[in-house]
Symmetry: C2
Subunit: 236 residues, 2 copies
DNA sequence: GAAATAGTGTCTGTTAGACATTATGGG
DNA sequence: CCCATAATGTCTAACAGACACTATTTC
């Protein structure tokens, strides 16, 4: 008979007296690179798993919330903030890191193409395309990259979550600059879903949603008829 | 220039040397009670927040995964296992517990009506209906129950997640016994969504999905025409 | 004017809501 | 025979895919 909650033994619980797991945040940095959904990864140069590729991450400080930790790591790892950040899932298998018990809260960060490029140019991370249903991360030389720890599973979940939310959420716009063409928006959807979409139906669906605002401006630097630029209006 | 991952300083990291947050799992036990979506809560009898109502939960042991911890807590708190369990979200605001830094991974557990009743009869938990958009937990005497810590937000997220997944996932069946009528299935959807549904359209949608298997059996103890009993078929 | 892509009109098949109707058990 | 609910048929509106067509810019 235990009507009371868990918390009666919290009162006299001394955290330093017990083993406690370490808590980290890992970032799944996703963006479009050459029309393909890609992730930014870092190369491990220390064992274990030296030479494998990993999600950037780090420990959660005792005085920062999970969201704040994710934002801090984003700044540290790619050198800027302002990307869309949302919590993805928490991974806590006992042996996911061979050195110690680490529970990680994975965050999804969505980057615009210019942000992807800036991070790569700064030498902090490398781009890997997410290919196929088995979800191999492909490096610049087209070879599959070995992924460290359970990061393959984390990437797969991130991709699935993005696919599931892309057409009823505003996530697609996080990949795009403030002004964008309908073609660019469709490219985002197609890259995320991995399948071509019908152009008129896509246009209708997006416009009927009532969120896109025509700017009257047109794209330049096109060697053909330039498309109109839209912005995302407020949610009502 | 930091090409390497976060993990180089993991190598010589001693977890006992730093403050580390405590990690708990909290359970959002949901089920239908008198045709309403309801949660099972425990009453806190120790400060802080004595007299408030809370989600049952407990610490994650150093040698158990998050999923295993959730299953163990389910067994301890309601006295059985076998309920549908899935991870919901992780909450890590710095001040969410006034005593110490606690990061909690919330799990969603879906119970059948007989499981709800068994848990209540065993005196371990109390039922609270989730009412309205502001999501007040309502006790037996129809008064709103004060919720401890950030558990109101956790309940709200659980309800929203359930609403979002109810019609493309198998979650609804977790609330039902192995054999059920279409009416009972519709009751589940209506209680979760909080809105009435069209009967013929609902039947068609469910049957066209190809997952429901007619048993040829009919419900008994009905004072009118008895409905056919169905089971959930395999996913292909 | 040729090339290329933007943008539109229209047909069709699928699906959901609304509503009426028939079917079948208990009393 | 009455009642209550199960189960079904049908009409209609909304919507997505397919495809053809027109429009507009650069070169």
């Amino acid at each position: 008979m235990n009507i009371s909650g868990d918390s009666e033994f919290l009162s006299d619980y001394d955290p330093t007296a017990y083993d406690c797991p370490s808590v980290t945040v890992d970032l799944v940095l996703l963006g479009l690179h050459r029309q393909r959904l890609s992730a930014l990864l870092v190369r491990r140069d220390q064992p274990p798993q030296a030479g494998h590729w990993a999600l950037p991450g780090g420990f959660v400080a005792i005085d920062e919330s999970l969201d704040v930790a994710a934002a801090r790591l984003l700044r540290d790892k790619v050198g800027f903030d302002g990307a869309h950040l949302e919590q993805l899932y928490s991974f806590g298998a006992v042996d996911r890191d061979p050195r110690m018990r680490v529970i990680t809260i994975a965050y999804l960060a969505l980057l615009r193409e210019d942000q992807m490029n800036a991070a790569v140019r700064a030498g902090r991370v490398a781009v890997a395309a997410l290919e196929g249903e088995r979800l191999a991360a492909i490096g610049e030389d087209q070879a599959a990259l070995p992924l460290a720890f359970d990061h393959q599973a984390i990437l797969a979940l991130a991709r699935d979550r993005l696919r599931g939310k892309i057409d009823y959420s505003d996530l697609a716009f996080a990949f795009l600059p403030p002004r964008f063409t309908l073609r660019a928006l469709q490219d985002v959807h197609e890259a995320v879903l991995g399948t071509p979409l019908n152009k008129p139906a896509f246009r209708r669906r997006m416009l009927d949603r009532g969120r896109l605002v025509a700017t009257g401006m047109r794209e330049d630097e096109a060697s053909h008829r330039p498309a109109e630029l839209f912005t995302l209006g407020s949610a009502r």
